[in-house]
């Protein structure tokens, strides 16, 4: 569904913005997109309305407690969904069936049936979809170019390490014998102040489920091959919140991809003391003609000074245009009626891979990735 108007400015409805607002901010930063309204369902709890209202006020746009009315009355072209994870698909389905393009924060969903429902809605309506990702970071753009140019020949293995060196509440073992377990939603709401609330929602989610989309999207982009089987080990190794809610904060996944390609993923929220910066994020690619080792953080600039705060990363990423390039790409996909770099069908495959990995982590077996419905 191309619009044939390459200079057209697109108006976006923000459907809930309850955690760190990088997705709607990324959309708004591109000159071809403007935020027109924030909307959510009236029956949401107070904390949700408060955050939505605050974001709308910061951007000088209305907040409407009626999604259907906002979509009908604000002449919008797309919806940006950044709600609690379990509501992503439902809000996106409602937007897509209203004929809007959709941009969805990660994870796509905690349930594959919801992903399938969204894929059906998007494809039947012919609208564009984008699952927010990091595929346009400079190191990834370069890696993709090298692979596409045949620099390493035909790929036979791809590995990604994806560690966030951040804390997430009290460390494992911090809870006293008489203390109650940490409530997932309550602790995530509280974590909003330091930005460690990526898994905000009612259903507890591990790091694989919350952040797995990023490295798995790298593998998908660079290999072009779907994952067929996975084997995983998972652990709650660092954070009491994860222990109490029986979700991982550390995981390893073997990926057996179509065509005999082998992949692997190491992922974790490994704590602030485990790395001087945001965390080691690396890719190792092996091909018939060579190999490639990529540090996702590059380019970066190192800044050190006396009395530097511990939480300040001395190595600062620079030249990052991921958000702009994502939105530029999305606008062009609309203009030219082209596929996006990570649409909801691809996102559904990633969700299926994560679901299979979690099952493997429980069973200790190799698990087949569920095909689309």
């Amino acid at each position: 569904m191309g619009n044939g108007e390459p200079d057209r400015r697109f108006r976006a409805a923000v459907l809930s913005v309850v955690k760190h607002a990088y997705v709607p901010n990324g959309v708004a930063a591109h000159p071809r997109f403007e935020l027109a309204v924030v909307a959510d369902d009236a029956d949401r709890p107070d904390w949700v309305h408060q955050r939505n209202e605050q974001y709308a006020a910061e951007h000088g746009i209305p907040y409407v407690r009626d999604v259907a009315r906002a979509l009908a009355e604000f002449d919008v072209d797309l919806a940006v969904i950044s709600s609690e994870a379990e509501r992503h698909c439902d809000l996106a389905v409602r937007a897509a069936t209203s004929g809007l393009h959709v941009i969805v924060d990660k994870p796509l969903s905690t349930r594959l049936s919801e992903c399938d429902r969204l894929v059906a809605a998007v494809e039947s309506q012919g609208v564009k979809s984008l699952l927010w990702n990091r595929n346009f970071l400079p190191a990834l753009v370069q890696a993709r170019q090298l692979v596409n140019d045949g620099a390493v020949g035909k790929l036979h293995a791809i590995h990604v390490d994806f560690y966030f060196a951040k804390d997430a509440g009290p460390p494992r073992g911090a809870r006293g014998p008489d203390d109650p377990p940490l409530d997932w939603l309550e602790s995530l709401i509280a974590a909003h102040v330091d930005g460690s609330d990526g898994g905000v929602g009612h259903q507890p989610m591990g790091e694989l489920e919350i952040e797995g989309i990023y490295p798995l999207a790298y593998i998908q982009m660079l290999s072009g091959a779907p994952v067929e089987h996975v084997f995983a080990r998972t652990a709650a190794h660092f954070h009491q919140r994860n222990v109490d809610n029986d979700v991982d904060d550390l995981a390893t996944v073997t990926l057996q991809l179509q065509g005999g390609l082998i992949g692997s993923l190491c992922i974790g929220r490994i704590g602030a003391s485990s790395h001087p910066d945001i965390g080691e994020i690396k890719l190792h690619l092996l091909g018939s003609e060579g190999a490639l080792v990529v540090s996702e953080a590059r380019p970066e600039v190192a800044v050190y000074y006396r009395q530097q705060a511990r939480q300040e990363f001395p190595h600062r990423r620079v030249g990052g245009e991921n958000d702009f390039l994502l939105m530029e790409h999305f606008a062009q996909a609309i203009d030219r009626d082209e596929p996006t770099i990570l649409d909801v069908r691809a996102g559904r495959q990633i969700a299926a891979t994560v679901a299979a990995a979690l099952e493997s982590g429980r069973s200790g077996r190799l698990v087949a990735v569920a095909p689309p419905a």
Binding site: H159, T252, T254, E280, G364
Partner: protein
């Protein structure tokens, strides 16, 4: 007085000559190789007084000039030679572990009977970088180990013959994993892909440990250029990164710069020999025990079985069995 060492298998003699310059507790006094020219050359390089063209001859005519033997990784008759040396009461170091846990157990019994010291493989542990990583675990700086990742990519010239895991690929990395976690894995999965351009195969081993630890180890042969090794260990309170990528210099000679890895601090083989000599002088078992070598071999065997079966294997308390 330095340990009087016999070197059995001389293909790596030039490397040993360089390494031994830094080790004054060991003197090579005898060498043996089926290739008499290689033995002659090695004797000259290492200053050995005795040379032999077989291990039988080394144990016979030259036995009184040496007290311990280093059985080089290139010896296909390593177990037989080690058995003979131990029967003669000689301390024995197998540079590389055989892929046979029963043989290792038999050698252990022989060593015990002869009151001789036996060390089997484990060389990678003694690389300077891995000693630092292990120290971070032993001192509890990084807390409980949670995730070990290692990439071992060899240049074609250094690749072991044979495809997949049959040549012992990743055995040393498995040994390091068991050493760092201090326990045996409960789950083993190996995955592989043929790489016709090198005549070998890429292989990856995934281990799960009882206390929720996990490891991913992969091996490949690069079609061209130098090799690469990277190891990271994520602990509950910190992490350690031993990564060639961090130790790479740039060479500009036109076009894109080439990356050159800076090595330093001695190699694992030197540390392995040093530990062997120290254990003998202190009349104790080496840190890297034959029993540990046998454990690594058992896990490696499970990985080979997993690769063949295409299934994960799980420890039942008696053996690793397919989860399929």
């Amino acid at each position: 007085m330095p340990l009087r060492l016999a070197l059995l298998g001389c293909s790596q003699a030039p490397r040993w000559a360089r390494r031994l310059q830094r080790l004054d507790t060991v003197a090579v006094t005898a060498v043996a190789d089926d290739d008499a020219t290689a033995a002659e050359s090695a004797a000259d390089q290492l200053g050995a007084v005795a040379r032999a063209d077989s291990w039988e001859s080394l144990l016979g005519d030259s036995a009184d000039v040496w007290d311990a033997v280093l059985v080089s990784a290139d010896r296909r008759d390593a177990v037989e030679a080690a058995s003979g040396a131990l029967a003669a009461g000689k301390h024995t170091l197998l540079e590389r572990s055989p892929l046979d846990a029963v043989a290792i157990e038999s050698l252990t019994d022989a060593a015990r009977a002869a009151t001789a010291r036996l060390m089997v493989g484990g060389g990678l542990r003694y690389a300077a970088s891995l000693q630092a990583v292990h120290q971070s675990v032993a001192s509890r700086q990084i807390g409980q180990p949670g995730l070990l990742r290692a990439h071992r990519w060899l240049p074609t010239a250094d690749a072991e013959p044979g495809v997949s895991l049959q040549g012992g690929q990743l055995l040393e990395e498995i040994d390091v994993a068991l050493w760092l976690f201090g326990q045996l894995p409960t789950h083993v999965l190996a995955s592989g892909a043929a790489t016709p351009e090198t005549g070998g195969a890429f292989v990856q081993i995934h281990l799960g440990f009882p206390d929720q630890g996990m490891a991913l180890l992969d091996y490949d042969v690069l079609t061209q250029g130098a090799g690469y090794f990277s190891l990271s260990l994520i602990g509950s309170q910190g992490a350690a990164y031993a990564d060639d990528h961090h130790n790479t210099q740039l060479l500009f000679r036109g076009g894109a710069p080439a990356g050159l890895t800076t090595a330093g601090g001695g190699c694992g083989r030197l540390g392995q020999l040093q530990e062997f000599a120290t254990a003998i002088s202190q009349q104790r078992d080496p840190d890297s025990t034959a029993q540990q070598a046998g454990s690594a071999v058992n896990v490696h065997r499970a990985a080979r079985a997993s690769l063949d079966a295409g299934q994960a294997f799980q420890w039942t308390g008696q053996a690793y069995e397919s989860c399929g």
